[in-house]
């Protein structure tokens, strides 16, 4: 299971990453990104233009399948439940965000354990740091975008400050890693 979080500056990077992933891809990819909550359209459509894999904004309780990319919908928190399905809820914002990257990352880490690869990209607040710590705690592998290559480095640096990150990479290396695990 691959889970990716990102905020300011991460949208074009996600497009680049998804455009390089081979089809078929053996794992599901879960994505939480800060976004304008009243804009429901355009985000997933724009990413789909670049990706060979299908990117969807799932409905609540949608079963998770390999080879699909699940993008947290605007104004919903997205978590993974035992039984490997998506849960979408509307409770309070976390770190001023709904979707919360922490919620998506931490629940994925808890459900998939050491089978989790967590990736945190550029972003302007510390959302995602706790989630990366939980992925680490549950035995998963963590990658942050090299802060030197970030538009805003607060997000990866916050994660590095509270947990031991396995790999610090630029986007090309992240793409190569995602290709390599598919072999």
């Amino acid at each position: 299971m691959v889970v990716i979080g990102g905020s300011a500056g991460s949208f074009p990077l996600m497009g680049t990453i998804f455009s390089h992933l081979p089809k078929p891809y053996n794992y599901p990819i879960i994505v939480a990104s800060h976004r304008l909550k009243h804009i429901r359209h355009g985000f997933v459509e724009a990413l789909n233009l670049k990706s060979s894999l299908e990117i969807i904004e799932p409905l609540d309780k949608e079963k998770i399948l390999p080879g699909k990319i699940y993008l947290a919908p605007a104004n919903y928190h997205m978590s993974i439940e035992p039984g490997y399905y998506i849960s979408l809820t509307t409770e309070d914002m976390v770190l001023s965000s709904r979707p919360s990257i922490d919620i998506t990352l931490s629940s994925t880490g808890e459900i998939y354990g050491k089978g989790t690869l967590g990736i945190l990209l550029t972003g302007a607040n510390k959302d995602g740091a706790y989630g990366m710590k939980k992925i680490n705690d549950f035995g998963g592998t963590t990658i942050v975008q090299d802060p030197a290559t970030c538009m805003v480095d607060t997000m990866p640096k916050s994660a590095m400050a509270i947990t031991e990150i396995d790999h610090v990479m630029n986007v090309d290396s992240i793409i190569n890693t995602l290709k390599a695990i598919n072999r």
Partner: protein
């Protein structure tokens, strides 16, 4: 995220003890949601573990009441998903013309923003006297709170944006300017003729039939297993040809009863009962 992290395994183990000692049954909830709701509650009250939470809940009825209220997440804002309310604004006159008077049920009224958004829509189209509304919530304490009509100030900004997208209007015009710090009330409160009822969708049968049922972002808080029988209750609440409005990321695909409905509007998740 929270001072005391709760795992899925811990929360599953906690269900039976909580029910045994407090009679509060949380087994029906989605695990992720209930874990976060409890984590947030424990943070707010400086409770450092699930055993301490049990002790806290059994010390006095006030603690138990505050916990029960916390189990019902607030509606996030007024006119959430503005297109849904535009849809209702355009469809309600036709329905009233066909049926004379229509009955609307708001399931899981919670903090009441959906209910009041509906009332504002009805007021806009001068149809309040043609619509009977029943609003349900699980606990009377929550109903008492929502009747007071005091809303968290954090909801103001998204509500202003939503209202603008609903009808180009100024939400500020609806607000009582004598607002308290960090909270606000509406100038006109239209809930006087609403029938409020304590009702638990997870455990009780349908108590009537309605032309329109609002059940927006409610089913997502139930577990996969529990949601299946609840869809039967939902279906029982709706008259043939009646409408069901769910949250925009909810659906009926997990339901055995989806064959009873056709989707009238995929974007706003409006379903019509066909048999």
């Amino acid at each position: 995220m929270y001072k005391f992290d709760i795992t899925y395994a811990q929360i599953i183990g906690f269900f039976d003890e909580l029910k045994f000692k407090t009679k509060i049954d949380i087994k029906v909830y989605s695990l992720g949601a209930i874990k976060r709701i409890i984590g947030g509650y424990m943070d707010k009250h400086d409770i450092e573990g699930l055993d301490e939470l049990i002790r806290w809940l059994t010390i006095n009825p006030g603690n138990k009441n505050s916990f029960m209220k916390a189990l019902i997440p607030d509606k996030t804002e007024f006119f959430r998903d503005p297109g849904v309310w535009r849809y209702l604004k355009s469809e309600l006159p036709r329905l009233v013309k066909e049926k004379g008077v229509i009955r609307i049920l708001d399931l899981g009224t919670s903090s009441g923003e959906d209910l009041r958004s509906l009332l504002i829509v009805l007021n806009d189209i001068n149809l309040r006297d043609k619509v009977e509304i029943v609003a349900c919530e699980k606990y009377q304490i929550k109903i008492n709170e929502l009747k007071e009509g005091l809303f968290n100030g954090k909801k103001l900004e998204p509500s202003i944006n939503n209202y603008k997208r609903y009808n180009e209007g100024k939400f500020d015009d609806l607000i009582d300017q004598s607002i308290e710090e960090d909270s606000f009330t509406l100038k006109m409160d239209l809930i006087n003729d609403v029938v409020f009822k304590t009702y638990d969708l997870a455990f009780e049968r349908a108590f009537g039939e309605f032309d329109i049922v609002l059940c927006r972002n409610i089913m997502c808080y139930y577990s996969m297993k529990k949601s299946r029988p609840i869809y039967k209750t939902l279906s029982d609440f709706i008259k043939k040809d009646g409408l069901l409005l769910m949250g925009v990321q909810e659906g009926l695909t997990n339901s055995f009863y989806n064959r009873d409905f056709k989707c009238l509007n995929e974007e706003y998740k409006v379903f019509q009962k066909t048999r």
